[in-house]
Point group: D3
Amino acid sequence: MATLRPLEKDEMAPEARAVIDEIKAARGVDDVNNFWKALAHQPANLRRIWDGLKQVMSPGELDPVVKEMLYIAVSAANNCDYCVHSHTASARAKGMTPGQYAELLAIVAMASQTNALANALKVPVDEEFLVGGPRSGRPEPAARSD
Amino acid sequence: MATLRPLEKDEMAPEARAVIDEIKAARGVDDVNNFWKALAHQPANLRRIWDGLKQVMSPGELDPVVKEMLYIAVSAANNCDYCVHSHTASARAKGMTPGQYAELLAIVAMASQTNALANALKVPVDEEFLVGGPRSGRPEPAARSD
Amino acid sequence: MATLRPLEKDEMAPEARAVIDEIKAARGVDDVNNFWKALAHQPANLRRIWDGLKQVMSPGELDPVVKEMLYIAVSAANNCDYCVHSHTASARAKGMTPGQYAELLAIVAMASQTNALANALKVPVDEEFLVGGPRSGRPEPAARSD
Amino acid sequence: MATLRPLEKDEMAPEARAVIDEIKAARGVDDVNNFWKALAHQPANLRRIWDGLKQVMSPGELDPVVKEMLYIAVSAANNCDYCVHSHTASARAKGMTPGQYAELLAIVAMASQTNALANALKVPVDEEFLVGGPRSGRPEPAARSD
Amino acid sequence: MATLRPLEKDEMAPEARAVIDEIKAARGVDDVNNFWKALAHQPANLRRIWDGLKQVMSPGELDPVVKEMLYIAVSAANNCDYCVHSHTASARAKGMTPGQYAELLAIVAMASQTNALANALKVPVDEEFLVGGPRSGRPEPAARSD
Amino acid sequence: MATLRPLEKDEMAPEARAVIDEIKAARGVDDVNNFWKALAHQPANLRRIWDGLKQVMSPGELDPVVKEMLYIAVSAANNCDYCVHSHTASARAKGMTPGQYAELLAIVAMASQTNALANALKVPVDEEFLVGGPRSGRPEPAARSD
């Protein structure tokens, strides 16, 4: 499979090789996974995606395991085969317990169920859930959230 | 909108009214939101969904705010208008900070981006991400995770 | 809303008006719904979609109500606001009972739930579910199914 | 593949084994398919999903073959590889004819096409399709549909 | 895999064989790809899909490579494994350059990212983006666009 | 609607205001659309998304109108209400003709249809569509595509 073959390091353009070296250093690994090797055909995409991912997944208010679990949840909902595998492995490496994984899957399943129901019923959104917006006079929780 | 009008309590069948009363008691609220009032047309669905949701969202190894954030992540990926609004409101009510919300949205956005890339590239899954399965001899993290 | 304003009949090109007249005649109605009026900007699309829909929804081995219910199921899963509303109305007009609708929604919800779980778990497909395909020697149910 | 290896019976916790035994008895089979064996790592999820599925797919107003066809329609729209395979096999086992399958696929395809069009055009929903809701005075089809 | 085994020519009904011969002639190839061989079980679907595809992908105002790139974009967003592979191959055969492919993937990724953000934020659509529709007095770009 | 109210300029943090000023300057407009005003609550997200979008949509090998049309295609497939409206408006402003728009919608519709069919049939990918990957000896089109 794959529409772009994962590249080996000596096949990459210098700009791509530089990003791959950054990923290895940041993660303390000897080799990167196939996603990066496939993206290495396109140095500008490789650079932008890595820089963005590094920023988004860096330490913040959320626990690193929680960040990986959120990544799994989105990847499962988007049905990304590769991402589900890679981020489930990452979450486990960062300490996700079997019990946390069971709770995560329970929520992914339940949310998909109620999402489908609400989308099929087209339930009107309750007024009290709306914040801001041109037709609401309610205060929003905070003017700044970053 | 809506394909089933949200019902008022005196229009509900007794089996539906009983579930609605349980929801009010469990949440300590005077009234339930439209999702439940629309589902009240179908008492068996209302009962099954409420019982499942109550079980899935009950205290466990994950923090209640994290549970709501996972729910938002799935609902955003599935693009459920109603669920995004209701669970963002719930997460805030349970203490999600503006900074946590910013990190959540960053992950939802970034994951959607790499999901799309991996799905467009059809990157082959690395061997080290696979556990179990008929073609893998690798040990899995745990035989039981619930 | 809308990226193409629903057209009134006197604004349509003759090729579009001809299709609109066919829809009215086929359905025995005085006016068509907004979907067709918006598509009327693009006579070739309008013609192709109407001809296809007429063929697909015409009497066959499946009951007309079942056909509409399948349409609702797909539209809910694809979260098409317009289509959920229009096909729920059609199904009701063709005789879908409240009990059938409750069972439909239960299946839409349950399938979305197990879909999400199987996609998150990446469960390997059992050999006995596979028919045909280059790696299977199993007979398929029938050489022709139309 | 798989993020949780399908378990064999002697690897399961007693609560999981009990559910697996119920599934075998209910279906009259010697072994269950991989979905259940993978879920068996998480007894609470296994129990909730099986109980829900059993209830939803039990005899009702809809024919069992129709129920499986609705399940296929949702699974195809959600692109669940595993579920498409397992429920297509189930529908055939319950009597879905090749002609019915052809009509099902025709509807799945056509609905996906008009869903995409309506979502791209953002066609405003016609007033006559709306029932209930705060901005509609129209009667809804029935106060109770379960 | 596959729920319908790709058929060889001598297994097809005459109506299916006729369509397959048309595809070969139109494309100047000796054999068709698996999609058509699987659809050949269902001659009516095969006919309708081929006739539609031929019309949609025929020369028009858009360049043939652009048409294939749009097809890839939709297929990636819908996560169709088969279609991503087949249309990426077609786009390359019609002249898509590596640089164009890199730009295509960048847009698929970026759009998926901002789609997810807008869906999570539920940003109200700006008045100036709306054309037509019952609540807008703005002129639309053109009464006819086909 | 909205889970974060679009901010006015005097409500924004300085880092957010700086990005908003860049967007206005780059686009030569007096005000930005709601997407940016809602993101302005989260300056880090606002900065990352704007920088990425500016890079991805800048002049390259693809025509600016084609870039916007690809954006529409993905947004329609992902069913992003806001993005469909904003990028359809952008594509028109950059010169998309009614005829090009009709062809775009035809492809979005047709691709969604064949995507659904291939996903429901689970057609095995033809060997000739595969490039690279561990199980293929075929050369890929180019070692570098950026």
